[in-house]
Subunit: 432 residues, 2 copies
Amino acid sequence: MTQPGTVRVGPAGAPVRQASLREHNLALVLRQVAAGVDGRPPSRADIAAATGLTRATVSALVDDLIGGRLLTEVEPVPRTGAGRPAQGLVLAGDGPAGLGLEINVDYLAACVMDLTGAVRHREVRRTDLRPVPATDALARLAELAGRAGAAARSQGLHLAGTALAVPGLVTAAGVVRLAPNLGWHDIDVPAILAAGTGALQVENAAGAPTPQAENAAAAPTLQVENEANLAALGELHAGPTGPATFIYISGEIGIGAGIVLHGELFRGARGWSGELGHIPVHPDGIDCRCGGRGCLERYAGQEAILAAAGLTGPPLPADAAIGRLVELAERADPAALGALAAAGTAIGVAVAGVINLLDVDTVLLGGVYAPLARWLAPPVRAEIRRRVLTAAWSPVAVQPARLGADAAVLGAAGSIVRGVLAHPARWLNAPG
Amino acid sequence: MTQPGTVRVGPAGAPVRQASLREHNLALVLRQVAAGVDGRPPSRADIAAATGLTRATVSALVDDLIGGRLLTEVEPVPRTGAGRPAQGLVLAGDGPAGLGLEINVDYLAACVMDLTGAVRHREVRRTDLRPVPATDALARLAELAGRAGAAARSQGLHLAGTALAVPGLVTAAGVVRLAPNLGWHDIDVPAILAAGTGALQVENAAGAPTPQAENAAAAPTLQVENEANLAALGELHAGPTGPATFIYISGEIGIGAGIVLHGELFRGARGWSGELGHIPVHPDGIDCRCGGRGCLERYAGQEAILAAAGLTGPPLPADAAIGRLVELAERADPAALGALAAAGTAIGVAVAGVINLLDVDTVLLGGVYAPLARWLAPPVRAEIRRRVLTAAWSPVAVQPARLGADAAVLGAAGSIVRGVLAHPARWLNAPG
């Protein structure tokens, strides 16, 4: 007799003949180390006890993971009781790392994250990219990427891959179909970056000639993804206590959303979900760049809020203008409070529709909405109470995102790191 | 070395020691038979060739499936060429069957579907349930269920389970939290049916004392599910050529939606997704029963359309009133055309938001919208063209649902049948 339930088998596909045991168990051991045992680095014996694998099997897997710089041994914690204390295992901080990049309407960003989740390099460059052709914007981004790669190498890290956050609709091949606020249509980001200075390629291949560096070069080097989706992933993994089902709202010049359900990013049929900014909140209202009318973005986008608050005069950089808006709201300036209340109500109308449709129980206000959440959240909550069918017995939490404006670039780097942790065999076994 | 990709292993969980081979392979054989080989019933040899399993293994599995009345042998099709023609295998039409039930605002329905998908019994009873207490409404439903169970038994079928479609929010335990148009709050449907005449229980246990009938009694006898979700499943499986990613809109007195993504029903965080009727389309508009304002239901629900068309006078039954509306629209009656255009525009505004958010590429107009689709679809398409960011290069199909008003009850019965096909071992192995 077989034991039902020991393996989850897909509903369709080939018959079960042989499972990919090693790949599965390498990832299992990594998860045990990442989670720890009783709050301390686990020993090989701890992992064997927790997983049910034999100690010999665990030791062989651990040796492979140490050899591939995914794990490292630490001095044992002295324990009371008999027996020699065993060495503990932790994720390695000197092996593979993820490069996160972000291109947005008014800034560029880069960050390097190691396997432990520590940020080892970060750079943000404020610049209005609306008047800049896509090729030039990407050339500027490649400069940041080049500096990030050099910083990683100088710290002994090897980039396992790069993820780029873009405020638009991205195909599986990394082509930006549409980024309305950047003015991008059908921009083939991987092709442009490959044809440029090659900074993104060089940094992946130019590490020390270890097997790992060559593996990384053999793997796909660049993933392009919607900015709100990566930010939502960043929030999901920002700490152990966060919600696993939520909508993350990215308030920038445009408004995007990342939807996370039971710990998984929901991408929609073609990966183009979450265009919250173009949900109609006043169907007969103001014309929108997208061709529609009364889109949320026209009532609650960063520029709409600043204009309503009377902050359109001098060309303040966006972060300074948001800072100024916070000051005015703290002083109870009527125009500032009115602008924030109107924006919050518009967000609440759109979000109420989202919750009726998707049944999420947490709303995270991200991007420029994070520092404004004190004023935006109350009207959002009021619209939810009023319009969501389940709100009476199933309250919805509305709260600021934890990572603020860095969420997308941190989520991008983190997505590379989590890919290595979830599929360590790809890193260890790639031809090189 | 292991062979990656032969088994899909879940991302978390226990280590792989032993796969549930038999359960997986029983379902695999059933799928091969259901799909056929070159358009004819496959032989055991055909199945062995298609799956890579040995002929001995296939024969043992097939014998078990025939013994459990899941498969049956048919006369071989004469073939040219050498060799004795092998017996073909088809799904059994005399074994397990699914009972589908529906309770809606103005009708009750029941249907019995066998393993081949054939409907073996169907009954619809028109009755306005709004003035009726939930216990009485469920007692009436139990009468239909009792007749359906008797009809199944008289044809030699054994009910493998019952699924009930309800126009409201249902918990995993089958409690209807809220069905606004029925006036139901926290109605424990399984408990009420168990305490009643017992018709639903009796029909499951009173079959011939074969192992299968006792298995069915031991299995969960009743699943309660949102009506639009079951209707969407019915549409998904209504034929081999339908779309696998769509939103099904159930137009009744209320408006629900079932969302299917890549062939899977999307239920939301708590199973309460798809409350399309309460998406705000005019945020400052008409008050709604739900406590909100300007909900879609108030502009495009069945009663709103009939009222706008001037069909509120005599208390016509709903199906007769919809038939009358179709007649008037065919004669180009201005009030009828105006009512349908306004409803279609309101549906289009809500659906445009849904597509921007969820990125689905097909909209199925179901329930009373199916016979009205000729007039509703053009304004829905116009709003999508105008408001959906991706519409320019990725057209969205808007079409009538294929099953019309029967979709939910057919989807309910089909969900039981598909459960047996997906998990035949549960049917074969249950204690009895």
